[in-house]
């Protein structure tokens, strides 16, 4: 059953990637098909997570691959907040290929099958994983929005004749959304880190590389908000900073998984 939901989700997300690409060439029906692909895929993945939770008798996403599966789902949730409106369809072209890649990585790592609950599955662990992943999902969306900002800004700077043919949000809107997403994501990451540190202290474990990079990630996003509100950082500089933070998120999610999860 879980396997069927996985393939259905992957197929639907894959369809949305193709349809979003087609929508760039000819905006309209392809965009609507893409949106339905995302919705259908999200429903299938929700069912997949439901099956995993029912079978595990606990919190089953504490492994690297399992948490990647949950993370992918959260990214789609964050995307669905804006991504279904026609003006934000370009965002799908940035987010959905990443979603497909992450879901495939989760599947390759065994994160989409039946998951045994972690032997050390405590309330703190659940809170830690849930908040960190929610924050990272938000940061992923903010990175996609920042990418869209840079694309749109470049089109305006290059005075591209076809700039008005592809519906996209304005620079001001994208700037606001990038900031808002980080405003929501940073407190989530803070709670995630604090709960992780409490658990670490209780178990008397040491600090690993992933924890250090996570703290650096926190510092980058905190700097983003500080510079945005105190020094008036806007535009390209702010977008590049958001993308820098996301590069660290990718390192944490993909580059340094094994040491922490083992």
């Amino acid at each position: 059953m879980a396997e069927a939901f996985f393939w259905l989700a992957l197929l639907a997300y894959g369809e949305s990637v193709v349809a979003y690409a087609a929508n760039v060439r000819s905006p309209g029906r392809a965009g609507r098909l893409a949106t339905w692909g995302v919705r259908l895929g999200w429903l299938a993945q929700t069912a997949l997570l439901g099956v995993q939770a029912a079978r595990a008798d606990g919190f089953p996403w504490t492994t690297w691959a399992g948490s990647l599966n949950l993370f992918t789902w959260l990214v789609v949730v964050a995307y669905l907040v804006w991504g279904c409106t026609p003006r934000y369809r370009l965002l799908g072209l940035g987010v959905m290929p990443l979603v497909v890649a992450l879901l495939l990585a989760a599947w390759a790592g065994g994160g989409t099958g039946s998951q045994a609950p972690s032997s050390s599955s405590t309330g703190f662990l659940v809170l830690h994983v849930a908040f960190v992943l929610a924050a990272f999902a938000g940061f992923t969306l903010s990175a996609a929005l920042a990418g869209l900002y840079l694309w749109q800004e470049r089109a305006l700077k290059r005075r591209q004749a076809g700039i008005l043919r592809l519906p996209a949000p304005s620079l001001a809107t994208l700037e606001i959304l990038v900031t808002r997403t980080i405003v929501v994501g940073l407190p989530c990451l803070t709670v995630g880190i604090v709960t992780g540190l409490i658990r670490l202290r209780r178990e008397g474990a040491g600090v690993d590389a992933l924890m250090v990079v996570t703290l650096v990630t926190w510092a980058v996003y905190a700097a983003f908000l500080l510079l945005r509100y105190e020094a008036g950082w806007r535009g390209r500089r702010a977008a590049y900073l958001a993308l820098t933070g996301f590069a660290l998120v990718l390192v944490v999610r993909l580059g340094l998984p094994l040491a922490h999860f083992s």
């Binding site: 309209g28 008036g232 806007r234």
Partner: protein, 423 residues
């Protein structure tokens, strides 16, 4: 009933002729009513008059007479003889007239493909006209086709003029323009038009800067802005969001350094500059400053050209939608012609059955009531079974162009009298 369209448009008639035949909405309603009164008892009429077209839609049993009336009405408006006007007119009937109206409602026959105003004008004409069942259905379907084209294609989404493109570009930077401050440099008509296009989308025309203070004051008063001396342009740049430059100056009126100085105060707030003057008013190097976006007349015209090309591409998708709607109209109209033939055939068969039963009434009267009911029922069933397949086939044929041929064949084979057909 035949649909007749007689009209002229920007495709076939010069503006001198169009302005003579154009009528106000009240006069268009009166003209439609006059044409209905002049027609046969069942005539219908709608007059569509815009700056680019004058079209009379009529539905009548006598298409030739209706067409002659329409030509005469237009000739009277134009103040010329009917023969003189004929080369400038298009005269279309039934399906061709429907296709034309659907293309008009979809904006496909407009000067700028996909322009949105025409749909409202078709609706106004329909509401002010004197439609009967035929024109009512035709115009409702035209409005449906127009809306469908706009919702399923992007034909009307991109701007088609320099001023609307400039405003749309500003929206790409700021999103909602409500409360955004516009600084107009120059007191000419072109700058005022561009500024008004921004104001129409919610922006506030805050100040007008011009070397001639008197002219600046006049324009500022017209647009509800403040006239500012040219020397204070630096201060205005610090607070403005959009700059529209359209002076007649022979050289640059705003240098890169002036804008760069203002940008330092603005703390990263973007500035969108539109230079529609020739020769240009704004230093092209301004565009290199971070968060500054400068578009001159060539840049904006390139955006308009691309937008129009996009509209033309979308037009082919819109034509398919219009063709589908025309097919649906033809099916409806053919069914309208076939249904009376089916009803007439059934009435004819029932009449024969009743006549035959009456002929043997004396013998039937001797039968018990239950047996009489059986005879009634059996004869009715025989008629129904005989007519079932022809009725089904006729209904199927109604959806094809051959429907009317079947209807004529039916009338001929069964001797159905046109006058006796139930309405």
């Amino acid at each position: 009933m035949k649909v007749v369209l007689v009209g002229l448009s920007h495709h076939v008639a010069p503006v001198e002729l169009r302005e003579r035949v154009a009528v106000a909405p009240e006069a268009a309603a009166a003209l439609a009513a006059t044409l209905v009164r002049a027609g046969d008892g069942e005539a219908e009429a709608i007059c569509l008059s815009t700056c680019n077209r004058m079209e009379l839609y009529l539905a009548s049993r006598d298409a030739g007479a209706a067409e002659a009336q329409a030509v005469a009405a237009l000739a009277e408006l134009a103040g010329v003889g009917g023969d003189e006007l004929l080369p400038r007119l298009y005269r279309l009937h039934d399906e061709a007239a429907a296709l034309h109206l659907f293309r008009v409602a979809a904006g496909l026959d407009s000067m700028v493909p996909g322009e949105g105003e025409i749909l409202g004008q078709v609706k106004d004409a329909y509401e002010a006209g004197t439609p009967g069942p035929i024109l009512d259905h035709l115009f409702r379907q035209a409005l449906h086709a127009g809306k469908k084209v706009r919702s399923e294609t992007a034909i009307g989404e991109s701007p088609a003029s320099v001023s609307s493109a400039a405003a749309a570009l500003a929206q790409q930077v700021f999103g909602d323009l409500t409360g955004r401050r516009v600084l107009v440099i120059g007191a000419g008509k072109a700058g005022e038009l561009a500024a008004r296009a921004l104001a129409a989308r919610g922006a506030t025309i805050a100040s007008v800067v011009n070397r001639g203070a008197e002219r600046a004051a006049t324009v500022a008063e017209q647009v509800g802005a403040v006239a500012v001396p040219f020397e204070r342009i630096g201060a205005e740049l610090e607070t403005a969001d959009v700059v529209v430059a359209a002076t007649g100056a022979p050289g640059l009126v705003l240098q890169r350094d002036q804008v760069a100085a203002a940008m330092r105060v603005r703390k990263g707030r973007p500035l969108f500059l539109i230079d529609i003057a020739v020769p240009r008013d704004l230093d092209p190097a301004i565009h290199d400053i971070d968060d500054c976006y400068l578009y001159d007349i060539d840049d904006i015209e390139a955006v308009v050209a691309s937008s129009l090309a996009g509209r033309r591409r979308e037009a082919s998708r819109a034509e398919s939608i219009v063709a589908e709607e025309t097919d649906r109209y033809r099916e409806w109209k053919t069914a309208l012609d076939v249904v009376p033939a089916i009803a007439s055939l059934r009435a004819h068969a029932e009449e024969i059955r009743q006549r035959e039963l009456e002929r043997v009434e004396g013998r039937l009267a001797r039968l018990p009531v239950a047996d009489r009911r059986i005879v009634e029922s059996i004869t009715a069933q025989i008629v129904n079974k005989l007519l079932h397949l022809p009725t089904v086939r006729m209904k199927e044929a109604a959806a094809t162009p051959n429907g009317i041929v079947y209807a004529d064949a039916l009338e001929h084979l069964f001797g159905l009298n046109e006058k006796e057909r139930p309405k």
